[in-house]
């Protein structure tokens, strides 16, 4: 039987663990609200952007002069997988589920004889993919330095990706991130960003005949790189909110488990304390009887 001193120490240590997880949960909750606000206020831009580009893309689709970012390079041999994860752990299955989605895709592509290149954003994804796929790594974006997630962060990533595309390093780019649905549910999402794909926008946008200044192609050429940045930005924001959400529920679970553990240990502590007292009594009584 563990002695009383040990049990007391265990209880104290679990209690301080519970304090830490509780604090982390509250920090995550505060950060989550900020991340959600950021994601919310970025939405109008992304929506208008998509609507306008969708309309434009539909009107130039099929024409010879369509920009490569839209029509693709004509082949799809080399795939760039952009895996976006968090810089930190302790957020439940958040990182693993994104990495799992990326791994499934990479395996499928490799099995089909395609070339795979991996760009990691965030340290955790890199660590998890390193063992199997290190040979395919082409770059890494460190998010540890980024204090506040801004559009310029997304722009920098997009610039790097576009430079690779212009250099002909890949044909198709796909991003992996987690879409925030609620605190308990984040959906790992796979989204192709190059060549650009558009969700079917409502027909209302297409029915207005716009004047374009400069030409449709000119605008599209200007917008598509911005569109890539916008999509990356949206993904980063969703990811940030998901990370905090996942951490919040993971830490909530941890706090609850610590509480249960403390109860169990306290019962054990009380039992063994009683056992010690009973033992002492027996010794006294039997000592008195012996006289």
């Amino acid at each position: 039987m563990p002695n009383l001193k040990d049990l007391k120490n265990r209880i104290a240590s679990v209690k301080s663990t519970r304090k830490i997880t509780k604090a982390m949960q509250m920090v995550a909750a505060a950060k989550l609200r900020r991340a959600q606000d950021a994601a919310e206020s970025a939405r109008p831009y992304a929506e208008r952007m998509n609507a306008v580009m969708g309309g434009l893309a539909a009107s130039v689709a099929g024409s010879e002069s369509a920009p490569k970012l839209l029509s693709g390079t004509g082949k799809e041999d080399v795939h760039l997988l952009i895996v976006m994860t968090a810089e930190r752990g302790l957020c439940g299955g958040f990182n693993s589920s994104i990495v799992r989605a990326a791994r499934v895709k990479a395996q499928a592509l490799l099995a089909a004889g395609k070339t795979v290149k991996i760009l990691t954003v965030g340290k955790k994804g890199r660590e998890q993919l390193k063992r199997e796929y290190e040979a395919y790594f082409v770059g890494h974006v460190d998010m540890g330095e980024v204090k506040r997630l801004g559009y310029s962060t997304a722009q920098d990533i997009a610039k790097g990706v576009l430079a690779r595309f212009d250099a002909g390093e890949f044909d198709v780019a796909t991003i992996f991130y987690s879409r925030f649905q609620s605190v308990i549910s984040q959906i790992p999402t796979t989204q192709q960003i190059i060549p650009a794909t558009f969700a079917q926008t409502e027909a209302e946008g297409a029915s207005i005949l716009y004047d374009y200044e400069p030409s449709e192609e000119g605008i599209l050429e200007d917008l598509l790189p911005r569109g890539v940045a916008t999509q990356i930005f949206a993904a980063l924001l969703e990811n940030a909110a998901s990370e905090q959400g996942a951490r919040m529920s993971a830490m909530d679970n941890a706090t609850r488990n610590a509480g249960e553990m403390i109860d169990k240990l306290t019962i054990e502590f009380n039992r063994s304390r009683q056992a010690v007292i009973t033992n002492e009594l027996i010794e006294i009584i039997s000592g008195a009887e012996a006289l």
Binding site: A38, S41, A42, P44, Y45, A46, R48, M49, V52, L56, G150, Y151, A154, Q155, I208, L209, Y210, D211, Y212, E213, P214, G218, I219, D222, L223, R226, A229, T230, F233
Partner: protein
Amino acid sequence: MADTMQFDLVSPERRLASVQATEIRIPGAEGDLTAMPDHAPLITTLRPGVLEVITPAGSTTYVVTGGFAEVTGEGTTVLAERAHPVEEVTQAMVDEMIAEAHEAHKAAHPDVADVTAKLLSDMVAMSGHIGLDANVPNF
């Protein structure tokens, strides 16, 4: 004819303005233009410049770079990569934007050097317009 129309100014990070406006002066890529209610539908890209919104209550000025404007009869939406109310623009911000444009110009392929040079000169003109110095590194 309606007197006012809906005007939205949106940057990737937030919605800066959503008001009823009578007149909007937009720095279009191919020249400035003023949008008023019942304007013909138009989509134009922006050059770095000053955007002026005139509402019945007065006018507001913003500094915008990069993006596009969508004008319809009912309203105007400006999507700018960067947008700041002119009062918030500081010398440091202008310096940073110009330095960025300058970097881009130096790194640019000769084919597109014209475009980046224009971007740079637009930025310089813009900063002059709002009364700040344009410290161009050896341009």
